[in-house]
Structure formats: structure tokens, C-alpha cells
Amino acid sequence: MAKNATIESKAQVKAVKKTAKPIRGTIIIISGLVFLCFSFILSISLGAADINLSTIYNAFFNFDTGVTQHQIIRELRFPRIIGAALVGAAFSVAGALMQGMTRNPLADSGLLGLNAGAVMMLAISFSFFPGMPYVYTVLLSFFGAALGASIVYGVGSLSKNGLTPIRLVLAGAAVTALLTALSEGIALYFNVGQDMAFWYAGGVSSTKWEHLIVITPIVIIMIFIAMRISRSITILSLGEEVAVSLGERTVRTKLISILVIVVLAGLAVSVVGAVSFVGLIVPHLTRKIVGYDYRWIIPVSAVVGAVLVVVADLLARTLNAPFEIPIGALISLIGVPFFLYLARKGGKEL
């Protein structure tokens, strides 16, 4: 019996692997990276002050502190774009892992309360420890994301029918409402409302080199870990039984992915604020392109997510210049119709 189950499971895994489209994946990754470079340049040159290409070139290779435009590029625009790309990759990989691990097509760190938890911790850190080094802020942010996730999953698993996707989303909505209300209360009490308004709406405009130094290595390490466990995630995404029958150590995989999810989400929120839907949209698009094998989904999601947020940030800056549209709102406007489409279609998946 057990042997049969194993054979069947192996067949399933094979079938999934067959859906993988390595050539397409490679093309997407390469063209994505090229596109990313292209949007980097576009992003640097467009904005409240337009800058031409030769100035950009000079800013990197013949930097002159006397030239304002060089300063703008080096100190404002460049860190901002790197920040946007990292945040996009982080949210997307976190979303992909969540969707794979929980087999929940509606999973996203924003929808499931992780982002709100991180924002609440940011409110606390601004209120109680103003001027705290950025590293500690990031750590608190992880803790907040973990808090949000555990409440949502706790409520979900307490309920009689278990962790259905819809139930999790509803619990996520309520937890988000609660944690946001709490952070508003805290922010009002300590008069940091003005600082916090930024985090609710979302934006990468204040990204600085000192932040990037902290987050860049962590994001890269986390994505690397995600890639290492991607094979196990693929098997988990076929269901607990399949994974067990193939001798997978599911608990270990789950723990590692939870850690990666919480760190990536917390980190991204500490840079950009509570931006939802990136982690929802990107993995879905990616699956459409490269199939269901997470060894491809994760890296491609990272690239696609980076492109999405960089482009969204570019639009946020230029659509209504000189004002900025909060990037979170902009992405929500794309994300909500997408979510509705999934929720409608999802008779089978949900």
C-alpha cells in the first residue's frame, strides 16, 4: 500500500515538474533583469527633476559632489530604486512561499495580517524608542510580522472547518483592522502620527543607503534559502500526504519557510510600509508563465516582483508630478480587481 502511495506521489511530482518551463523561466529571468536595468535608468532620469543619460553616466563614473543632479542620483533616486526592487522581490517570494506552503491561492503578506503587524511594531518603535538604530527597527518589524501571522493562523486553525483560504483572508482582514487601529492609537498617543501616515500609505521615497546596507544582504540570503527549499515547497504544494509519502521532512520545511516569509515581509514593510497584493499577484502571474515547479517560481517571482514595484514606483512619482501617489494605493488599484478575479474563479481552488 505504502509503496503504491509513494509511486503515485512520485508520479504527481513528476507531472508537476513537467509543467515547469525552464526555457521560458530563463528567458523571463534574463529579460526581466534587462528590463529591470532599463527601468532603473528610466527611473533615475524621470522625476521631479529630469536628468539626461550622460549625467547619469557621470554620476556613477565621474561623481562630482558639486553637481546637484549627481547628488540627487546618488543619494535619492538610486537608493530608492534599489529599495523598490528589493521590496518587490521580498514581497513576491514571501507570497510565493505562503501560497505554496499553505496551498492557499489568496495568500499574501498584506492580506494575511503580516504587514499590519510589522507596521504596529514600527509604530511602537517610533513611539518608545525614537532614534533607534535601523537594525533594531528591522528586528522589531520581523517580530510584528510573526505576531500578525500567528494570530491569523491561530484563529484560522481554531475554527471548526480549519484553515480554508477564505477564512484565512477574513481573519487577515480583521487582524489587519485591529493592528492598524492599535498602531493608530499608539501613534496618536505619542504624537508620531505624521511619521506613521507614511507607512500606512506606503512609499520608498525615504530609502537611504544606510537602510540598504542592512536589508540587501538579508533579502539575498533569504531568497537563497527559499531557493534551497523550493523543491520541498513544490512537494508540499501537492499536499501533506504526498509530501509525507515521499519521506519529506515537512515540519522542517514549514518552519524554514515561515522564518523566511516573516523575515522577508517584515523587512519589506520596514522599507516601504504596508503594501498589499504584490505577494498575491506576482506568484500567480509567474505560475502562468513557468508552471508549478517552485524551483522556477521563486526566482522568477523575485525578478517579476522587483520589476513590478520599480515600475509602480516610477508611475507613482511621475503620474501626478510633482506630487507622489502612495505606491501602496497604486498597487491596490491593480491588485483588487485581480483578487476579485481569483475569488470568483476560485470555486475549485478555494
Binding site: 484563529v155 480583521a174 488599484l333 470555486g347
Partner: protein
């Protein structure tokens, strides 16, 4: 057998009346407490004196022009939202329905924002248009949500309705934030306050704008209590009892949207009241709508007035928006219901 049943009914009626009276008493106590709390403290005796026209001019101004209208509005919107929630829960047969959670409030808020942007609130008379504007916005949103959660072969699945509502609410909030960039800073403040759920309209004008809606819709809904009871028995029973189900559903839904929209047009987007109040009520007086409706209205009034008073007092001189206080109470309750709910 029969007499036992009647005895049970009488007992329940007595209980409902008792609960109703106690709630009115609580409301009055809260009313007095709320009147004399705030940044400027007035002792209870002065409050009573002033209420009877024996006080000083400054106290009179503070009480009658600032605190009293705000308290009245808090109670009225609490009632409106609670009743709206009770009706919604009955009509869509979903215990998690609430005008805030399913996005009706957000739709009203968007319409109000547009209205405030293009016709400033300062213009006399426009205050009375606001509930109508809110109703249009909320109505369009309700239709959208209904359309998205309807599936040909399954009809409306209760939980999908909530899911779609949550998403629509998120989308509308995002749209409001984007809109705020097009408008002047003053209107921006308005939107920010609205989203946080402050009671922002606190003069008698707003009371008079809101009141007619409640005076018409609350008795109308109460008059339909029997219909809601029958709906509760299931579609086939309702039809076999000769009810025009679709028509009743539509009118009741419109009434619920109207109640929520009118309330929200003078307050911010306060969620969870329409969820909590009817649930608490059902626990106390059972399912019969002729008790559920008035008692939830009272609980809703108490809840919002209490939240507003707490919000005004706890962080003096800053105010916590009422919606924030309600969410801190309401969200855990929603989670509790979610965990308990069977599909």
C-alpha cells in the same frame, strides 16, 4: 403544550423589555458622563443646571453647541449602523455581514469625498444633500459587490460575499488615497479623518440631516421584522408562505444601505458596530427580529457613544477616532465569530 409555549413567549418578551429598559438607563448614564467629560471639565451639577437653563453662557455654548450634538450623533449612527447590520445579516443570511466589513461604508465615504471635494461643506444646505450622496455611493457599491459575488449556478455564497466586500473596501480606500492627491490639503484632512472613523460632523445641522433618514427607515425596518423572521427560515419556506422573496430582499437591502449610508455621511467609516450589536442582541433575546432590531439599535447607540467618549477622554487633549476604538473592540469579536462559525 400551548400554554407552555405562550409562557415562553411572554417570558422572552419580558426579558426583551427588561433588557431594553436597562439599555436605555445605561444610555442615559453614558449620556451624562459623556456630557461632562472632555478637555474642559464641567461638574455634573453644572451640567444639570445648564441643561435646565440655569447655567452660565460659556457652559451653555460648550454643552449645547459642541458636546450635545456630538453625543446625539454618536447615538444615532450607532443605532443606524447596528440596525443596518441586523438587516444585512438577515437578508444575506450571513452572520458576519456588517456595512463596514462588506464595503458599503467605503462606497458611501468615496461619494462623500467626491462631494466634499467639488462642493465644499461650508455651502449652506449641502449638509442635507450628504446622506443622499452617501446613499448613491453606498448603493452603487452594494450592487457591485452583489454582482461580483453572484454565480449563476450557486447564487450568492455568504462567505464569498464577505470576501468580495473586503476586497472592494480595500480598493475604494486605495482610490480615496489616490484622490486625495488631487485635492487641497483641507479636503485631504477630511479624507484622513474619514478613513480613521472620526465623528466629524458635530453640529446640529448634521443631526437634522441624519434624523429624517432614521425616522423613516428605522420604523420601516421594524415593520418588516416578520418578513426577516420568515427569511430566516430559508428560501423555500419563505416562498411557500407566499412571500415575494426577491422584492422583499431588494427593499430591505436598500433600507439597510440607506441606514448605513446616512450614518456614515456624518461620521467616518466606523466598522464592526453592525456586526457586534446584533450578535450580542441575539445572545440575549434570541432570534425574533421584533426584539433583535430595537435592542441592537440600543446596543449600537451605547457602543458608539461609549467608544466616542473613551476616544475623547483617554488621550486628552488628543482624540482617538471613534472608529479606531470600535475596531479595537470589534475586530477580536469578529475573529471569535469567525472561529466559531460553521459554513
Amino acid at each position: 403544550m400551548m400554554s407552555q409555549k405562550t409562557a415562553g413567549l411572554i417570558k422572552r418578551q419580558k426579558k426583551a423589555v427588561f433588557v431594553g429598559i436597562s439599555l436605555v438607563v445605561i444610555l442615559i448614564v453614558l449620556f451624562v458622563v459623556s456630557l461632562n467629560t472632555g478637555v474642559m471639565k464641567i461638574d455634573p451639577l453644572t451640567v444639570i443646571k445648564t441643561v435646565f437653563g440655569q447655567g452660565e453662557a460659556t457652559d451653555e455654548l460648550l454643552l449645547f453647541e459642541f458636546r450635545l450634538p456630538r453625543i446625539v450623533i454618536a447615538v444615532l449612527i450607532g443605532m443606524g449602523l447596528a440596525m443596518s447590520g441586523a438587516v444585512l445579516q438577515g437578508v444575506v443570511k450571513n452572520p458576519l455581514a456588517d456595512p463596514g466589513i462588506i464595503g458599503i461604508n467605503a462606497g458611501a465615504g468615496l461619494a462623500i469625498t467626491l462631494f466634499v471635494t467639488y462642493f465644499s461643506t461650508e455651502v449652506g444646505g449641502s449638509v442635507f444633500l450628504m446622506p443622499i450622496v452617501a446613499f448613491i455611493g453606498a448603493g452603487l457599491t452594494a450592487v457591485t459587490i452583489y454582482a461580483f459575488s453572484y454565480k449563476k449556478d450557486e447564487g450568492i455564497s455568504p462567505i464569498r460575499l464577505i470576501l468580495v466586500g473586503v476586497a472592494v473596501a480595500a480598493g475604494i480606500s486605495a482610490l480615496m488615497i489616490v484622490l486625495t492627491l488631487k485635492i487641497d490639503p483641507k479636503t485631504y484632512d477630511f479624507v484622513a479623518t474619514w478613513l480613521a472613523g472620526s465623528i466629524w460632523g458635530s453640529s446640529w445641522n448634521f443631526v437634522f440631516a441624519l434624523l429624517p433618514w432614521l425616522i423613516v427607515l428605522m420604523p420601516y425596518v421594524y415593520f418588516k421584522a416578520k418578513v426577516l423572521d420568515v427569511m430566516n427560515l430559508g428560501d423555500s419556506t419563505a416562498v411557500s408562505l407566499g412571500m415575494n422573496l426577491e422584492k422583499e430582499r431588494r427593499t430591505l437591502l436598500a433600507a439597510a444601505v440607506g441606514l448605513a449610508a446616512a450614518s456614515v455621511s456624518v461620521s467616518g467609516g466606523i466598522g464592526f458596530v453592525g456586526l457586534i450589536a446584533p450578535h450580542m442582541t441575539r445572545r440575549i433575546v434570541g432570534e425574533a427580529y421584533r426584539y433583535v432590531l430595537p435592542i441592537s439599535a440600543l446596543i449600537g447607540g451605547v457602543l458608539v457613544l461609549a467608544a466616542d467618549t473613551i476616544g475623547r477622554v483617554i488621550l486628552q487633549p488628543a482624540e482617538i477616532p471613534t472608529g479606531v476604538v470600535v475596531a479595537i473592540i470589534g475586530a477580536p469579536y469578529f475573529l471569535y465569530l469567525l472561529a466559531k462559525l460553521n459554513d
